[in-house]
Symmetry: D2
Subunit: 115 residues, 4 copies
């Protein structure tokens, strides 16, 4: 599952203000995570039914990939929403600091994904 | 969660013959996968409750790490069981081929984990 | 080698205008890449001297980590410089598009690092 | 660069006994590492010439992939040579221990690659 291949339905926002970058795609994220949960359950079933270890490993790799796709979506929305939001702060001093905080957070999160 | 930190209970084997390397640790794998399934459900809850994207990313990284630990355990048992099993084949010609197949499978599986 | 542990010397900029986020830390990046080049040469020497495969693998992992650290530094500076630069575009229509382009580029680059 | 796509020339072994799994492919490994060294130098050149950060990141990803391919090759040969070698130990007690040591080493090395 690639992030770009999934049509992310725009959440028909009746909420006054979406809080985060991913809010607009909340339903799509919940569907993906539901599917990942099902994949993990499927792996447990394979273990329980003594399936061949290599086939189990293939499924574990698929789940890891699906999680990476979710991560990338969240990173994209964090950068496009939180970082860009900080850059829109009118006070230049507060802005510089806000950007620094958001960029640092994003980079540390990406670093955790790489490890 | 590191594979080495978890006490893997040896499955009190009433089965006549465990088929795979991981069979002896089946219960431990099922517990770990249950926990991972719960972690994925927790991430969905965070999305649903509009938690901060960076905190969600941290949880996604934790699940990825837990899956890596499961993979490593399976790889270890595949090598120690299936590869070594192939090496015990008495007919030298069949043995060489059996080893080749198992080593190639293991390497391809590890390659999928790295990608 | 962690990006945060290295003191990045600010390039005493006699250039009229630094073009990219990393320009200020150019010398530090060049030093790191020099070191990585030396590490790769060291691995070749280990292969040439028939060193133990596991020790070679350990060195390969170290180089991969050092490259990840360089990547993370570049990503951080891309977000803090190129994305934030796009967000400073005065024309709102051009701005939205410029941000989109930069965020998409960053996310795709991070996606390539994860694979 | 995929390990399978490169024709590994079998080292015309005049040596009395190749010590490691990779020895037969030593020349191919040295060529690959030489190429990786050149790629790292190319990245330094890009930094020096103020190339666009995203293009540099693309090259860093390519080097990481090339290193992964080298790692996988070494892992494959370690399993096929060192682990299988341990499994050929005639004394069953020494054999079990030798296998354990080699499998554990391999798994730890793979774990370092995954991190």
């Amino acid at each position: 599952m690639e992030p770009s291949q999934e049509t992310l339905t725009t959440h028909a926002g009746t909420d006054p203000a979406p809080t985060h970058g991913y809010t607009a795609n909340k339903e799509a994220y919940l569907r993906r995570l539901k599917r990942i949960e099902g994949q993990v359950r499927g792996i447990a079933r394979m273990v329980d039914e003594d399936k061949y270890c290599i086939d189990i490993l293939t499924q574990v790799s698929a789940v890891t990939k699906a999680l990476h796709a979710v991560s990338l979506g969240l990173v994209e929305e964090h950068i496009g929403h939180c970082v860009v939001g900080a850059a829109a702060e009118p006070d230049p001093d507060l802005r510089a600091e806000a950007i620094d905080v958001k960029v640092k957070e994003a980079t540390e999160a990406i670093g955790r994904l790489l490890r």
